[in-house]
Amino acid sequence: MAITPEEVRRVANLARIAFTDQELEPFAAQLSAILDYVRQLDDLDLGGVEPTAHVHDAVNAFREDEVRPSPGQDAMLANAPDREDGCFRVQKVIET
């Protein structure tokens, strides 16, 4: 199944990755080849087969409502590309 450069563009937008036009074509071809390969799953009759989200049947893992110490504001901001007044600084967010 061929995936078009247009479709790659749609997915790239969802994934927030910039692609140049030159990159798009080969990328579309590679994705198409992989999708063709995975299409072999269509051969299987999966009627009545439950999906596996977790490979083990464990359920209910909880923590108690107790405060755990944080590494602290300085440590948590130490890797920030840009910061101001204890906050992460980014270009203006326009509410859309």
Binding site: R10, N13, L14, R16, A53, H54, A58, V59, N60, A61, F62, R63, E64, D65, E66, V67, R68, P69, S70, P71, G72, Q73, M76, L77, E84, D85, G86, C87, F88, R89, V90, Q91, K92, V93, E95, T96
Partner: protein, 481 residues
């Protein structure tokens, strides 16, 4: 043509747990930015979420109070989208298996009759962080504070059962009251603890099919909710009546102008790519867990109101007012119990007590300087005639200000009521002597002047005179003489 408004609401309520839904950071409002964050809620590489058990307990309380069915198996899913206040690039929420479904609560419709509003589903999710837009001139940047990220929320999605702004507002008020009663949410709309989105469409009255709806985001007060619905209803009706079409879109309410505004539509439609979160296990709730929560459930507002009317003989209005918060209702009950006269207790709680509580800076009722026992003591002094009602109010305010017991204040201020006739007679005589015209008029038939004379005597005795004794004396002097 007559049109009908069709509204469904999504209410987001923050749960009052000590810590966040998936990590051990505190949830307190108003802390230093990014001081309540850790690798988990900041979405650091390698960090993993673990569900706070208290959040499930709270959800079960909500289920029981809103007649919801608890899902035997529920699951968390990732809602994927990019936004700077969303540290992981996805929000952990619930999608195809929410924890609660198929509930309802009862509210009054516009005619005052009870009406059930259906609840489609209630699910658990984490809140996002907060974006700050510095109001520095020329500031072309935003700041991200992640303290709120990962705070637990319940999203309560109603059926499109609501037909008017008033109904919408009463529905949210009722929900808020229930959540606050349950102790699972502080209901504080200013701090964003309760946020409302509205889906609204219109259709010709009497028809069944739904019209195209618009979603109005972030209605953070009852007033705005009603204004926004009213405006949006008019807007949609105008559109349809002038041959236009309603577009399915998200709109924002501009509270300054009182209008809703379409948000710039995105290049791509939302595609959240939900899938089960592999980091979290399914939540399986056995009936025993629900039973345990049921046993810990407080009396809910509707039941309490009914009981107050029945057991204390209160009017519907008084019961409503007293039950407007669980603390107030408890306070009233303790005063009534100790004092023995529920009507008097109700009047005092709805009067002087509420007046004090409504002042700015008033402490929460649990920390009130006049505990219920003290108020009952004060009412006992009124009942046995030691204090007049007016003097008692004065004493009450003093008790509130100082935290001292009533007996001390009464003795100190010499506020005991004068009932001794001989002590009052001189004051009565003096008032009558000073008002010959009024005496004449009274005797000529202007009986309304009795109030004037009583007032004069009360003033002369600084309120300490027993009004009945004064009445009696005046009557005998004015009429008997």
């Amino acid at each position: 043509m007559a049109w009908e408004m069709v509204v469904g609401l999504e209410v987001h309520a923050q749960l009052r747990t000590r810590t966040k839904i998936f990590c051990g950071c505190p949830t307190a409002f108003g802390a230093e930015p990014n001081s309540q964050v850790c690798p988990v809620c900041m979405g650091l590489p390698g960090a993993l979420p673990v569900l706070n058990r208290k959040v499930v307990d709270y959800a079960l309380k909500v289920a029981l109070a809103t007649n919801c069915r608890v899902a035997p198996v529920s699951r968390f899913a990732r809602k994927n989208y990019f936004y700077p206040d969303l540290p992981k690039g996805y929000q952990i929420s619930q999608y195809e298996l929410p924890i609660l479904e198929h509930g309802w609560i009862e509210v009054a419709d516009d005619a005052g009759s009870p009406k059930r509003i259906g609840i489609t589903r209630i699910h658990l999710e984490e809140d996002a962080g907060k974006l700050l837009h510095p109001e520095v001139p020329g500031a072309d940047y935003s700041l991200v504070d992640l303290n709120r990220a990962c705070v637990p929320l319940v999203e309560i999605v109603s059926e499109p059962d609501i037909r008017s702004p008033g109904e919408a507002s009463r529905y949210v008020k009722k929900l808020r009251e229930i959540l606050v009663y349950l102790g699972v949410c502080d209901g504080n709309m200013n701090e964003g603890s309760l946020r409302v989105d509205a889906n609204i469409s219109v259709r010709p009255a009497g028809t069944e099919a739904f019209g195209t709806r618009a979603e109005i985001k972030n209605l953070n007060s009852f007033k705005f909710l009603e204004q926004a619905l009213r405006y949006e209803y008019e807007r949609q009706v105008d559109l349809l009546e002038t041959g236009g079409e309603v577009v399915q879109e998200t709109r924002l309410f501009d509270s300054h102008r009182g209008v809703t505004v379409g948000m710039r539509s995105k290049e791509e439609a939302h595609d959240y790519r939900y899938f089960p979160d592999p980091d979290l296990l399914p939540v399986v709730i056995e009936p025993g867990w629900i039973d345990a929560v049921r046993d810990s459930l407080p009396e809910l507002p509707d039941a309490k109101r009914a009981r107050f009317r029945e057991a204390y003989g209160l009017s519907a209005q008084d019961a409503d007012l007293l039950c407007s918060s669980r603390d107030l209702a408890d306070y009233f009950e303790r005063v009534a119990e100790r004092h023995g006269d529920p009507k008097a207790a109700a009047n005092w709680v709805m009067g002087p007590v509420l007046r004090q509580l409504n002042r700015d800076e008033a402490p929460p009722l649990a920390d009130a300087p006049v505990p219920p026992g003290r108020l009952a003591d004060l009412l006992a002094l009124v009942r046995d005639g030691t204090l007049s009602n007016n003097a008692a109010k004065e004493v009450f305010d003093e008790m509130w200000a100082t935290g001292r017991p009533p007996a001390d204040l009464v003795a100190e201020k010499g506020l005991e009521q004068i009932t001794d006739t001989s002590a009052l007679e001189a004051q009565v005589d003096a008032v009558l002597a000073a008002s010959p015209d009024e005496v004449a008029a009274y005797r000529a038939g202007k009986k309304k002047l009795m109030g004037f004379f009583v007032g004069q005597v009360m003033r002369a005795t600084r309120g300490k005179a027993n009004p009945q004794a004064v009445n009696q004396l005046l009557r005998s002097k004015l009429e008997g003489g």
